[in-house]
Amino acid sequence: MMERATTIWLASYPKSGNTWLRAMYSAWSSQEQPRLDRLQGLPIAASRQAFDDALGIDSADLTADEIDLLRPRADEVIAAQDRRDGEVRLRKVHDALLTGPAGEPVVSVSAARCAIYVIRDPRDVAASLAHHTDRPLDYVVDYMASHVAAVGAARDRLEPQVRQRLGTWSEHVESWTDQDVIPLLVVRYEDCLRDPVAVWSAVLDFAGMGVEPDRVSQAVAACSFTRLQDQEKREGFNERTSPNSLFFREGRSGGWRTSLSAELAAKLESDHQGVMQRFGYLNGGG
């Protein structure tokens, strides 16, 4: 399957660096400064529009469970088109890799060449998510411990993205990192900040896309946090949820130390102790 499949799932819990890596991919593939408004060219796995276009049906007439059942089919249609076009595509996904009503993973396994899972210190995720969603920190910390946490799940409105089940932050991480049906590379956001060239080279190598050092360096330079933030300030960004808060806000690690209370930090460490330890977030590695 590896040689024929065309989709590279770029998976993460929200606010874990997924968009930054997508920008990097855009810069790498186009060899130009990435345009934030064109990152949409690579549709998120939960894109309602991509689902409707692929299947020829209006997802607004389907329940969330029915959509879960059909999402892998939509992924396969998109991948088949990419195969005809000779393209390999990186697709953002925030879903946990849970099974749908028919026992099949919610994103297509057969369409997947591989997956890159981006993990970030959950204490920084909490601070960033609270800012992004304009929710109190204690709400977000509870949300990250909720087994039924999901985005795009509102029943009273139609959102541009279909429901994405997240589970707890730990469940999300484990759903991807403990599966064995899609070849996986785990990338720590903190490592990406520390040495983006090395991390991006590893991603390209893993995905079989060929590593050209100059091209990688150019892509990394084009995607410096300052450059992306400046572009967002000038032109806006449609993944921003509020006109008053930037999507590219801080882009650093350890910011939680100044934004999370000791109590909330302790709760996150307790809720997610096992996974945090496993990925080096409780032993000074974050």
Partner: protein
């Protein structure tokens, strides 16, 4: 248009008959995981609801899953099945809504979730009769005309609240969905209504820095308009395999001759942005 084809039903509900439906069409010229088409016939498979065999003429045959009721089927028979039957007969539909304003139809197109029905409802509340919702059948011409196919709007609770409507006035569209269908208080008169304006709704980036315009209108140049409108047509991928490319090209040209305007919604509250969209659509 194929000479023998029959126009889609007007506002009446599409009737269907229960019966066995094959899993595949033997001579399909185009297949997706849910839809197959061959000359004069289409197949729609909605795994949790039914398989539907759709002839160009005559009622669709429905093989429904156990426990699926008639109201559940109506949602599909009068939506994608009607659109599929129209396509097989050379009648092309656009994903959108249409309302009657002044002397013609305002056609509101856009992707799912862009706010088409919500904008149509805003205009319905100020007296514009609803002409179509979901799939809008447009016949090529100068100007193109739109068929009256559905005088109800499917609205989600957030829109109902924002417009100060009473949810009890609407009927649930399907079990498990909070969307309700609201009848147009004023029925449209006539059938083939000339289209005066075409607006395409999209969701844009919230402006950088402080508050900017909530709705940003943008005239689409010809190539962009062609691409955008083509992408919003129902099942455009099946057009060429069905041998309908020439008719479809005429249809497309007819629509882009309206000089479509994109209205990009860039944040703001629901009520505020709908009011702004309605103003912009009026002036587009």
């Amino acid at each position: 248009m194929t000479p023998a084809s029959r126009a889609p039903e007007a506002t009446g509900q599409v009737a269907w008959a229960d019966g066995p439906v094959p899993d595949r069409l033997p001579h399909a010229v185009w297949r997706s995981p849910l839809v197959e088409v061959q000359r004069q016939e289409g197949l729609l498979r909605i795994p949790t609801v039914a398989k539907l065999l759709v002839p160009t003429d005559g009622p669709p045959t429905v093989e429904r899953r156990a426990g699926v009721g008639g109201a559940e089927l109506d949602c599909f028979v009068n939506g994608p099945v009607r659109a599929l039957r129209g396509l097989l007969g050379g009648h092309f539909a656009l994903r959108g809504s249409a309302v009657l304003v002044d002397d013609g139809a305002l056609l509101i197109a856009g992707n799912s979730g862009a706010g088409k029905s919500a904008l149509a409802a805003t205009l319905m509340r100020t007296g514009s009769p609803v002409v179509a919702d979901g799939y809008v059948f447009v016949d090529a011409g100068a100007p193109p005309t739109v068929r009256v196919t559905c005088t109800k709007l499917g609205l989600w609770p957030d829109t109902v609240r924002a417009l100060g409507m009473d949810s009890a006035d609407g009927e649930l569209v399907r079990t498990g969905l909070a969307k309700r269908a609201f009848a147009s208080p004023v029925p449209p008169t006539g059938d083939n209504i000339p289209v005066r304006k075409l607006v395409v709704l999209s969701i844009g980036a919230p402006p950088g820095g402080s508050h900017g315009p909530i709705v940003e209108p943008r005239s689409l140049d010809l190539p962009t308009a062609m691409r955008t409108v083509a992408a919003l047509g129902y099942l455009g991928q099946a057009v060429a395999p069905l041998g309908l490319s020439a008719d479809h090209a005429r249809w497309l040209m007819s629509l882009v001759s309206l000089r479509p305007v994109e209205l990009s919604r860039r944040g703001g509250g629901m009520a505020e942005s709908l009011a702004e969209l309605a103003r912009a659509a009026g002036g587009a």
